[in-house]
Symmetry: C2
Subunit: 496 residues, 2 copies
């Protein structure tokens, strides 16, 4: 940062690149200017850069060229095709933090408006793989699972990973933490064991016990995505080709041979219609083919939460109980077995059409439970943990049905908001237990939800959200009698 | 700025809005997070915001909704039509600094890719006018001039304003400083007098002497533009509808009845082809009609510099000399009289077709010179200044022709770069005198250019740029004999 008078004298404007030199060290920085904060003749430099410059007392500043990738981003705005080198140059500059937020946002916005074509998307994916760490397994096949997300309570990875690992396949699962949700798989696994590992540690754990459930953000795998998410989040957009590339880059970087993609579909999810899901499935399998990765996509019902819990500890308790007993909510059991079964088939350890049954056998035999305990131990957690030992928020309140009837509406997004209000995902013990789902019969005074939290004020805040009934907010669950409305009867035949 | 652990515990992410409250004061801020700079339990706040919060020792932080304009920017990305209220909401948030750089960049990028339609552009212009200060003159007509820019040495406003003001019309000219050029009109006028005035002062000066040449950036007229320019500069784009709106908003805000727009056209300018200029002219006149402002556009030759000087003091000296003597380079004289003549006709003080001649009379009679002196005095400068008294850089070097021949190529952009290397526009005395222009005959050893600077090292740097001849850089002027190249003669008739 320079004083505006100095910048003007040097013919420099905010956003320009400058070379900052001192004896034996130099760096390129993006210029900003100020009228007051920095005096004339002085330079403001971030601590990190200052350390890189060896805390020099004086520096030399000169204009530096802009990264070429800015002109490639401009080409994308004009929807000219990009070459492999041009795409690699953009990704490289994103990873190296050479682009300002303005420039990054222009890239995200342009790639949201103009989808990349399949060839460009392949190059983008390869560039994202190459600019990060990679894992090369000695043993194959390596399989992986990804979920498009958007459905609450989606704890299936806690079941799929141990089932698949117990079958002898390798599954090095890196997961995200929740950004807008109530708990990502990494948030869940962290209830049981540490989840922050380097790529080398992920390789070692996977080769030892067959699987891992780690937080991807702690690795340097496909790091471009971590930078892009900030702008995507700020703009609340998810550019399509970028999403395809981000998914497949993470899978490509860990050397996956086969991947199953969970596509929750339905109202309130990211894939509102089956058509959208089918298009995504085709694009993902095509991209996989270009990269030498077999992809199968599973369209799953995303209209209701998976299982009956939302929030890290509650979800882990539900998943662990299913591993212990082989039983639990149908939605969770069927979805987990179906996805695991697809991977068993793709990995060649179950015949086509036999995957589900094979997965079920691994679950009910207790092998999957023992495998998760091995994974927990390998990640540094307690391998003797029991589902009932998992602590949940002690501040609890039940939401009761105001009337006899049926659940006629159930809003996933409101359930997530309530779990977040209760403290999830940072408060691992916070969340929502769902007693009644869409279509279920309920008596007046029966519990619909139980909300859990570690603090009473967060609990109160979450409870308050359940009763909102203004023009903008829906209650999470609507119960009505079977006769919903009565229309006036037409007394006289109409004449046209 | 919060520590990342606190942000996570509150379910907040970078880019989220937060309400910061203390006893008796509150504000909305955009959240960023850090791992180290801010400790848990602490909050980082910019000095300005801290002062607004009365330097409170403790604050309360709560989530706040995002501005609705972000969803309207998303609509623009999806190319849905925007309503007047939606456009006003975007502009209001830009002016109030409620949008982050990521969000601002998304707006600029989306409006670059998707042009607004004429109705939306009108609303955008009106919103830009309404969100800033306005000037209401008691006397009319008020006229104004704008140049699309892109041609070096374009000092015509220094002549047009006094000619028009001398005719009895009001011309409250606000101008820009150079960003990428060698001198904007505001940089030029500042050689003669102060240029930073409030809207009230601009009104007063204009009503007293008929005209003003002020720096628009010092006013609060159409302030949205000042914010947008930062992102446009960083991305090196100039979204079309935004450009139309920015031009007309400044004219609308000062209450202009009639506007002439100078459109330099030709290779190296912003309007490379006459077609582009004609489209722009139509769109500007249409927009003017919607706003009740009569607009005429003048396509001017932009292939060569206007006059023979580039850089503030040099340009002012050339313009002032023309006002003193009535004579000077044809390109400058004709262009200034043509543009001034159009305004005299539009303002009703010259008959249609008589404007040029009327402007010429005002110039040669010395009335325009006396008027500029009045304007200089009203703005606080020396009204007795003579052209030969204007100081130019004492470090000078001539660039000589390497051969007998003709100027066969002349690169405007290189001339600007050389003037900037010599120190312009911050060093007002720096610049380039052009001895030979395109097509002129020149003898070996005759001067092509004279470079002036206040420092010898900047002079050397500028001189060095004249001799560059690598693959990327062209010399500013190319001199060749009339016979440019000899092709091999075909000795034998071709057979097909």
């Amino acid at each position: 940062m320079l004083n505006i008078a100095d910048a003007r004298a040097m013919g420099l404007n905010p956003g320009d690149r400058v070379r900052v030199r001192t004896r034996g060290a130099s760096l390129t920085a993006i210029l900003d200017v100020t009228g007051q904060m920095i005096k004339q003749g002085q330079v403001g430099i971030f601590t990190e850069a200052f350390m890189h410059l060896k805390e020099a007392k004086s520096v030399e500043i000169s204009p530096a060229p802009r990264p070429a990738s800015i002109s490639y981003i401009k080409m994308l705005m004009d929807r000219q095709k990009l070459s492999e080198d041009q795409i690699r140059s953009i990704v490289r500059d994103i990873v190296d933090n050479n682009l300002s937020e303005i420039e990054l946002s222009a890239y995200i916005t342009a790639s949201y408006i103009h989808n990349l074509d399949p060839q460009e998307t392949e190059w983008l994916t390869r560039a994202m793989i190459e600019t990060g760490e990679r894992i090369y397994f000695d043993k194959h096949p390596v399989v992986d699972k990804h979920s498009i997300g958007g459905v609450p309570g989606n704890k299936v990875s806690m079941l799929v990973v141990p089932i698949v690992a117990a079958s002898g396949l390798l599954i090095p699962k890196t997961s995200s933490r929740a950004i807008t949700g109530a708990g990502g798989t990494a948030d869940l696994m962290e209830v049981l064991a540490p989840v922050e590992f380097t790529a080398d540690e992920i390789k070692e754990i996977t080769e030892t016990v067959g699987g891992v459930i780690a937080w991807g953000g702690a690795t340097n795998i496909a790091p471009a995505d971590d930078r892009l998410i900030k702008a995507e989040y700020a703009l609340a957009i998810d550019p399509y080709s970028q999403m395809l590339a981000s998914i497949m880059a993470k899978k490509g970087a860990v050397g996956a041979d086969a991947v199953v993609v969970d596509m929750p579909t339905g109202p309130g999810t990211k894939l509102e219609t089956p058509e959208k899901a089918r298009t995504l499935a085709k694009d993902l399998t095509d991209l996989g083919e270009r990269l030498g990765i077999r992809v199968e996509c599973a369209m799953t019902f995303g209209g209701s939460p998976v299982g009956r819990t939302v929030g890290p500890a509650l979800e882990v308790r539900e998943a662990l109980k299913m591993l212990e007993t082989g039983e639990g909510p149908n939605s969770l059991r069927e979805k987990s077995l179906a996805l695991a079964g697809i991977l068993l088939e793709m990995g060649g350890v179950a015949a086509r059409g036999e995957g589900y049954r094979a997965a079920e056998e691994i679950l009910t035999s207790g092998k999957a439970h023992r495998k998760l305990m091995e994974i927990i131990e390998a990640q540094g957690g307690d391998p003797n943990i029991k589902s009932e030992e998992i602590q949940i928020g002690e501040h609890q309140k039940q939401i009761l049905s105001p009337t006899n009837g049926y659940v006629v509406a159930f809003y996933n997004k409101r359930i997530i908001e309530i779990a977040r209000a209760a403290g999830a995902p940072a408060d691992k013990k916070a969340g929502v237990i769902i007693h009644k789902k869409m279509g279920e019969i309920v008596k007046k005074g029966e519990p619909l939800l139980t909300i859990c939290s570690s603090t009473d004020w967060e609990l109160e805040c979450a409870v308050k959200m359940c009763s909102m009934r203004d023009a903008l907010e829906q209650p999470p669950i609507v119960v009505e009698g079977m006769l919903l409305e009565r229309y006036p009867t037409e007394r006289y035949p109409r004449t046209i």
